[in-house]
Symmetry: C2
Subunit: 355 residues, 2 copies
């Protein structure tokens, strides 16, 4: 990876035409995950205007992993700075046009994580810029609610987490603690259970299953014995989670073991959402109150006959009939930009009321 | 780690008094695990004599990990060579006194692994020495049966495996595929379930449990949130498995969640043994046949009120009343030495019959 000298990332700004302050204000939304980081540059929408649908996007930039737990603080910071510079440069803008930034990155779990990132964001942007740091799940929620922090989001890709907000600002989460700590509804969880079922069928602990031939074929292996070497050769969770489509195919073909694994994952995922809804009282006092339930991630995509997301919604609706399922039409980085806009608008209105 | 030049490990042999060939023959037994490697040097017992109990030991040497999957081929080989040299040197012996070697190492799963290790053992020892390479589970079985390969061994420490042999030389194994592939009865499995229960109690997915305060206290953490950082800071399975005594204490104190986890592990461990017994027909045609069931490893140790090993035996005996539970009095390396003696005796008798 190229290392940048202090400030070098922003050299492009010297080559830009000078524009009048306020003439073309922008906001930045970042979605930083373990596989990639996306930055969206959006024009500043006047507070008086309704939010256009779909939200306008000036530029989109993509970079690698920005989870500080995975790549370390320095590399995460550089990736985030680079992707913001790239998005601004692509939209013909610069830091002086930025009004607000919302950085939604995975691995931000504590106020201390948040403060550390805020501190170095402060070094990059002028002091009047609104800066907001959130967990990436928050951007996913906002991508379904168009920037409003209310309701619950369920993310299920390689990992899984449920995250909820009340209108008065309380929040709660469930799962999201990784595969060792019980994220069994995730893509990794589903695939690991399927691999386990193959091993158990092979050594006599479990019933025979179509998963054996299907998974071995997909991986180009000739015996379940070889799964051990394959599994531990590379600790990447995403590599294991990539087997989810094989499990779904087997379930669709009627394999009982694969069906059991998928139903278990539905129960696990629904249980995460229910825990959040319960703790926040999102369903109101009578349990029938309406709330948005945003569904995000590869495991929940509605492109298969065996539709995990649909089953999860069915399971949640039994207890909470007011759950309004939303599959977002925009990506989480747009959600982050809308969040930045919302936060900044609220702060500006507060200041205006005070003065 | 110090690197040795070719042959340097064996320099001690030049400084030894010359002894007559056959005057003090020895056998070597090695038990190579993921945490340590033990080598036992035993005097050669005449084939006509009964095996003394306990078996005589001339010297014992200990070294680090010799699992080639963990440390690589070269380091594993050097560790094994060093520990053999150490045991021989300690017993005032040398390679020319060795009649047979049994190397029982974890990670040996395929005939190709076996052949590779045999090839370099051939470079070390004179051609008349009997060389045998086995999975470490085999040495654990032999430590309970005093060198006889018959019955089933259940190992449950950080990991778990069940391994069985029939008297006519057929073998079968179950589990032993590591935590991702369903070794839920292992120490790692028990501890990971306990950590998961703490997370689930914290985020509202599961019932409150005594495990929360007990595990946090043991780890010096103040909130379940911090378990995430603790868990992924170090990928060592043994570090997580070290929490098993906390789970047992909580179960003994009446905690339902901890009890459920231990009972689940009992079922998993029993299921491994049952699969092996079933496949090999160790229980005879009527299902009541007697067979040795050797129980090895920290999880099965009978030093607690909540005795996991006892529960496993109870569970197996329901289906297979002929299971004769054995908790070995000698360590697996002694089992490996007895195996070497047994293998070598059989080969020698075969040769004698032919000539």
């Amino acid at each position: 990876m190229k290392r940048y000298r202090n400030g070098e990332i922003w050299d492009f700004e010297h080559e830009m035409p000078v524009v009048a302050v306020g003439s073309r204000d922008v906001i930045l939304g970042l979605d930083g995950g373990t596989t990639s980081t996306v930055c969206i540059c959006m024009p500043m929408i006047p507070f008086s205007d309704p939010l256009p649908e779909p939200p306008p996007v000036l530029a989109r930039a993509v970079a690698g992993c920005s989870n500080h737990n995975s790549v370390g603080e320095a590399a995460a910071r550089e990736t985030l700075e680079l992707v913001m510079a790239d998005a601004l440069s692509k939209s013909g803008s610069n830091r002086y046009a930025v009004r607000a930034v919302c950085l939604a990155v995975s691995g931000v779990n504590h106020p201390t994580d948040q403060q550390r990132i805020l501190n170095w964001l402060r070094d990059i942007f002028p002091s009047h810029v609104g800066l907001y740091v959130q967990n990436d799940a928050v951007a996913a929620l906002a991508s379904g609610t168009l920037g409003k922090l209310h309701g619950c989001v369920l993310i299920a890709g390689t990992g899984t987490i449920a995250y909820g907000f009340t209108e008065d600002g309380r929040e709660a989460r469930a799962a999201g603690a990784g595969p060792v700590l019980g994220d069994w509804g995730s893509g990794y969880g589903i695939a690991a259970q399927a691999l386990t079922a193959v091993i158990k069928a092979y050594d006599g602990r479990g019933p025979l299953t179509l998963l054996t031939s299907s998974i071995l074929k997909r991986l180009g292996l000739s015996s379940p014995d070889e799964l051990i070497g394959w599994t531990y050769a590379d600790p990447s969770w995403a590599r294991i989670a990539a087997l989810v489509p094989v499990v779904i195919s087997c379930a669709e073909a009627g394999d009982e073991v694969a069906n059991r694994i998928l139903y278990d994952s539905v129960l696990e995922l629904a249980s995460s959402v229910k825990a959040v809804v319960q703790r926040l009282g999102l369903c109101g006092e009578d349990g029938n109150g309406k709330f948005p339930l945003v569904m995000v991630g590869g495991v929940l995509e509605a492109n298969r006959r065996w539709d995990i997301g649909k089953e999860v919604i069915k399971c949640i609706s039994k207890d909470y009939p007011g759950a309004l399922a939303i599959r977002p039409k925009v990506e989480p980085a747009v959600g982050a930009a809308l969040l930045a806009w919302n936060f900044f608008m609220k702060e500006s209105l507060k200041k205006a009321l005070k003065s």
